[in-house]
């Protein structure tokens, strides 16, 4: 349909974007990145900002690089550009796997990593993977730059630790070059969003799991770590039996009353899917671990 009227500003630098945010702090203001969540919401009347500040063209916010043991992803890097970067697959296998399942080719060509994480749609594919990857969100605002650990980042439906005057400038992911990762998703047949999506990142030493991070999206109103699964995995091997045992505790610590429930899946069924897709994510992780171990 037709969005309501809005003012449009194009920022060419991070500083300009921050200035524009400050200037329009009295109005309802949205940052426009790839626009693949915001524009449909505006067209359907769910969102009606007075001011749009387009940050998609800020050159400094594009690109994937490696800085020591950290993978640095510019906030305006498109999903496709991330997938084209070998470093992303090497250092952040779970995250790259999740990015590869966002939307379709056209969405991936336009949508951005930073836009996704700032929007914080609980059914998107990135919250679980960002949690599993122990990412750090780097944001900049009038008071300068700050780093937000991912575990402190997601608050609720479209709600994050970002302040209104801030924008995400980059995402930093500690290298997991020695780990195996995967993402398993049950997509909604209509929207393609995750009914559940599980990202797993597992490190092994001589067949024994030394560390595991497992994150889920589509389950609660924000991305969540499946800590019971992580604990069940550590110290065991990534074989069929331990995968089943770990997946069996996928819903531990998750209040079913808080689970998402909609036309496509009730909370009760989501709990079933959560267990089944945790199993699938861990199996895929185990399969990915094998070739990595052989490297």
């Amino acid at each position: 349909m037709f969005p309501d009227e809005f003012d449009y500003y194009e920022a060419t630098s991070v500083d300009e974007a921050i200035d524009l945010l400050a200037e329009h702090s009295g109005a309802e203001t949205e940052l426009l990145a790839g626009g693949h969540s915001l524009l449909p919401a505006m067209k359907s009347g769910l969102s009606s900002p007075d001011v749009l500040i387009d940050v998609g063209g800020i050159d400094d916010l594009h690109g994937v690089s490696v800085d020591g043991d950290t993978l640095v992803v510019g906030a305006m890097t498109s999903y496709s550009d991330l997938l084209d970067a070998d470093a992303a697959h090497k250092h952040a296998p779970a995250f790259a796997a999740a990015v590869g399942q966002v939307g379709d080719e056209q969405v991936r060509n336009r949508g951005t990593i930073g836009g996704n994480l700032a929007h914080a749609d609980p059914a998107s594919d990135l919250p679980g993977a960002a949690l599993a990857s122990d990412a750090t969100i780097v944001a900049e605002g009038p008071n300068g730059e700050r780093e937000i650990p991912i575990d402190d980042y997601f608050f609720g439906m479209y709600a994050t630790a970002l302040d209104p005057g801030e924008l995400v400038t980059r995402v930093e992911i500690p290298s997991a070059a020695g780990a195996a990762g995967a993402y398993a998703k049950k997509p909604s047949p209509s929207s393609g969003y995750a009914m559940v999506g599980i990202a797993a990142l597992v490190e092994t030493d001589g067949g024994t799991v030394t560390s595991a991070r497992v994150g889920a999206n589509g389950v609660l109103d924000h991305g969540v770590r499946l800590e019971a699964v992580e604990e069940a995995l550590v110290g065991g091997s990534l074989d069929q039996e331990s995968i089943e045992a770990a997946a069996a505790v996928a819903t531990d610590g998750i209040d079913e009353a808080m689970m998402m429930s909609d036309l496509q899946a009730s909370a009760e069924f989501r709990a079933t899917l959560l267990e089944a897709y945790t199993k699938r994510a861990l199996r895929a992780t185990a399969e990915n671990a094998a070739p990595r171990a052989a490297d």
């Binding site: 037709f2 359907s44 049950k186 047949p189 209509s190 036309l263 496509q264 079933t272």
Partner: protein
């Protein structure tokens, strides 16, 4: 098994009928050169937007248009009161007519703008015309409607219960009609004599058509001549002209309805809606062109829905497993008003197909139509026939299980035998031709059925659940003849008209009253005409969809175009050849009886060197320098073709699926479609129709369903929420054909546009219940979402005291 496309340059006129040549319309459609209604831009064109009810059921207390009228660019805002004003075009009542009357029908008023009451979310209340489309949309949002909310009802059984709020003053208890077919007493006797019976209760859910192109119209009134041109997304321009002429009171002969390229319809563009009529009314009121294009949200809220049945059905067998009786009781959801063909769909297009492919000596069907607070429900790809086939094929599965017989063999023993055709069913139709075992045999072969049952057994031992489902469907296409349709209540004839015209240069334009919207008529009709006239395919152009250019027409729906439109073209082409033969004989100085016609050449029998080509004859006919005595110049002919009967395509579809009982997920292993659509004009197009039809059937089986809350608010109002199947959701298909020509039309064709959609759902449901047989699951409602499948497994396991599927002792619930 995909059919290879053929370049038309490699095929002669004699061989072109039945050749899989490429669709000539595709390059323009694919590159964007095709012109759709919304592409039309006229000078000084204004834009219309519609103010729609937010609620499923409400009284309108007030419509305040003052703020909207004051907005930039707004030309006018109009409500029902403005329609009725003396200084505006037309005369009250401005009701949309229904095109099919049943004796018991409550023909309720259907105003084009709400007259004090709205009955579904999306019902039109007011219209805004503005200079620009955005202005019109903004101003429509500023129209302030005060509602008094009323209780809504969306379920037909609840609507009919006597406890629901009545929608229309003159439809007591929301009954739209009460209709029956077959012999109730004879059927009751059959059930008394039966040694076995089986029954089923099922819902055939409401689905939203989702044509790729939304509905749209551009109207252009010419005050100097009082001519009103309407370009619109129409499957049947002549019918829309007639109906619109009546609604807005504009003479039919001064109204031109033209369908530019139309991007799909699936039935949703057959019906006559308020919106297109209002565009025409506005153009006449304002003396300027006006355009309206539905948004996708409006498409979801206002396009006529399909299906919507609640059914109980039973089947009776004798000791040997022969079906001896079948009875069905259905409550059909008709929505808030009667759409154009709505009364025919759950009655004559449904009840008449309840015999399926089977020789059943006693059948009774009873259907009650219900008014509810959802959009009007009407024909959607298949229209009544998918609902019938779904009931029959689900029952046949239950019955086979009851008899302890293989579902394929049980069907086979009950098929109408080849020698029984033409076969008169117990539900008022005569099947023209059929060889029902052939597609079944081919399907079993493609499935490797014997091997499958072994694999199924082994898989179950490993905890994997495979299932096979059959659908031996029958459909009736090309509704006919007109006399019968009239007796049954149709307010229109069911013939088709065409004009075949040679030009002096020898090229040909053929006009046909059908109106293609994706079917490939430009290709297939040209194949027919080129073949009849013996001219190059490239020398034939097809024109459809314009009431000023085409003699008359009934449009494209119900898989009628090949059987009725195609036959009409044959008839016209043969008249042209007859006239050309006389001219040729005159020129060859021979008796016309001694002149034969082959491959475009007239020859004297026995003197083959004396000949003249039909294209030269055409030139002579227009020069008219030397014509036979009393013969008019020119070479063209018009026909009206009224078929003797329906055509009855049939086939067997079968699906093999694997179901994961843990997550309820369904994977296709194989989908086999063996269809007998009679002779094929273009096998590539036949294959494409089957692919598309099956995709739509897969949609209904697994993904699609219009959901409303108790207030009649649509919950699945966008593609984010309503799952139209995508490529990844559609199985690879093994397609094959058998050919049993129709004996009563000159092409021997039947119809293929709806076959896949009719056949697929029950094949898939039967496959899923077969897979879950060890769990005692014998029915799952569509769409079979993972959650529904998972719950069915869970519920059956609980009902049976948590039985173990591996012990193989599951009993079949209410089978």
């Amino acid at each position: 098994m995909t059919i290879e496309s053929v370049d038309p340059d490699d095929v002669t006129a004699a061989d072109i009928l039945g050749s899989a040549i490429e669709r000539r319309e595709d390059p323009a459609l694919i590159t964007g050169d095709a012109e759709y209604t919304d592409d039309i831009q006229l000078a000084d064109m204004a834009h219309m937007s519609v103010v729609r009810s937010q609620y499923g059921h409400a009284r309108i207390e007030d419509v305040d248009t003052s703020e909207a009228e004051a907005m930039d660019g707004v030309v006018g805002v109009y409500t029902h009161d403005d329609l009725a004003r003396e200084d505006t075009p037309g005369e009250a009542p401005f009701n949309l007519p229904v095109g099919w009357l049943l004796p018991s029908l409550n023909d309720v008023d259907h105003p084009i703008l709400a007259d004090g009451k709205v009955r579904y979310q999306g019902d039109a209340i007011a219209i805004v015309v503005a200079e620009q489309r955005y202005q019109a949309a903004d101003a429509a949002g500023a129209v302030d409607v005060s509602y008094e909310r009323l209780d809504a009802v969306t379920d037909p059984d609840e609507a009919l219960s006597g406890d629901a709020r009545q929608l229309h003053a003159d439809a007591d208890d929301n009954v739209a009609f009460d209709w029956e077919i077959g012999d109730a007493e004879k059927t009751a006797a059959a059930f008394e004599d039966a040694s076995h019976t089986a029954s089923i209760e099922l819902t055939n859910q409401l689905v939203i058509p989702n044509a790729m192109e939304p509905r749209a119209a551009v109207a252009d009134y010419h005050p100097g001549t009082d001519e009103l041109e309407v370009f619109m997304t129409s499957q049947n321009p002549h019918l829309h002209r007639l109906l619109m002429s009546g609604v807005i009171g504009h003479p039919e002969h001064k109204l031109r309805v033209k369908a530019p390229e139309v991007g799909g319809g699936f039935g949703s563009k057959i019906h006559h809606y308020a919106d297109e009529t209002l565009v025409a009314w506005c153009s006449k009121l304002l003396d300027r062109p006006v355009k309206w294009t539905a948004t996708r949200s409006e498409t979801y809220q206002t396009d006529a829905l399909g299906r919507g049945h609640e059914t109980e059905a039973e089947i009776a067998m004798d000791d040997d497993g022969d079906v001896i009786g079948l009875r069905v009781d259905t409550r059909a959801n008709l929505g808030a008003y009667l759409s154009t063909f709505a009364p025919a769909v759950p009655t004559y297009l449904y009840g008449t197909l309840l015999s399926g492919q089977y020789d059943i000596p006693a059948i009774h069907g009873h259907v009650t139509g219900a008014f509810t607070n959802v959009p009007p429900v009407d024909a959607y790809r298949g229209a009544g026939r998918p609902e019938a086939s779904f009931v029959v094929e689900r029952l046949m599965n239950r019955a086979a299980h009851e008899m302890g017989m293989d579902p394929a063999e049980f069907r086979r023993r009950n098929f109408v035998p080849d020698e029984a055709f033409p076969y008169e069913t117990q539900v008022a139709v005569v099947y023209d031709s059929g060889e029902y075992e052939k597609p079944m045999d081919e399907a079993l072969d493609l499935l490797d059925y014997e091997d499958f049952r072994d694999r199924q057994k082994e898989a179950r031992e490993e905890g994997r659940y495979l299932g096979v489902g059959f659908s031996c469907y029958i459909e009736a296409c090309g509704l006919a003849p007109s006399e019968l349709a009239g007796q049954l209540g149709a307010q229109a004839g069911l013939w088709e008209s065409s004009l075949v015209r040679f030009h002096p240069s020898g090229t040909v334009t053929a006009f046909c009253g059908t109106s293609g919207h994706g079917q490939g008529h430009a290709t297939t009709y040209a194949q027919i005409v080129a073949n009849e006239l013996g001219v190059d395919y490239d020398d034939v152009e097809i024109v459809e969809g314009d009431t000023d250019e085409i003699p008359h027409g009934m449009g494209t729906y119900g898989s009628r175009s090949a059987a009725v439109g195609g036959s009409s073209l044959v008839k016209s082409a043969r008249k042209v050849v007859d006239k050309a033969r006389e001219i040729a004989a005159h020129s060859l100085e021979a008796d016309p009886d001694d002149v034969e016609f082959e491959n475009g050449e007239f020859r004297i029998v026995g003197a083959p060197d004396r000949s003249i080509g039909i294209q030269s004859v055409a030139e002579q006919a227009y020069l008219a320098h030397d014509m036979p005595d009393d013969m008019e110049p020119g070479l063209e002919a018009t026909s009206f073709y009224d078929p003797d009967n329906f055509v009855f395509p049939f086939g067997t579809h079968a699906a093999i699926v694997e179901v994961d009982p843990e997550t309820g997920e369904i994977e296709f292993e194989k989908y086999v479609a063996v269809d007998d659509v009679g002779n094929q004009i273009n096998p590539k197009i036949v294959e494409g129709q089957i692919h598309g039809g099956v995709a739509q059937g897969v949609g209904q089986a697994l993904y699609e369903g219009a959901e409303y809350d108790d207030n009649g608010t649509l919950l699945t109002g966008s593609m984010q929420d309503y799952a139209v199947p995508k490529a990844e959701h559609v199985p690879e298909m093994d397609t094959a054909s058998t050919v049993t020509p129709s004996p009563h039309n000159p092409l021997g064709v039947k119809g293929v546009g709806e076959a896949g959609t009719i056949a697929a759902p029950q094949a898939i449901v039967n496959a899923v219940t077969d897979a879950l047989e060890p769990f005692g699951v014998d029915h799952i409602e569509m769409p079979m979402t993972p959650e529904r499948v998972w719950r069915a497994v869970d519920a059956s396991a609980t009902a049976d005291g948590g039985h173990d599927p591996e012990d193989g002792t599951a009993d079949g619930g209410d089978r």
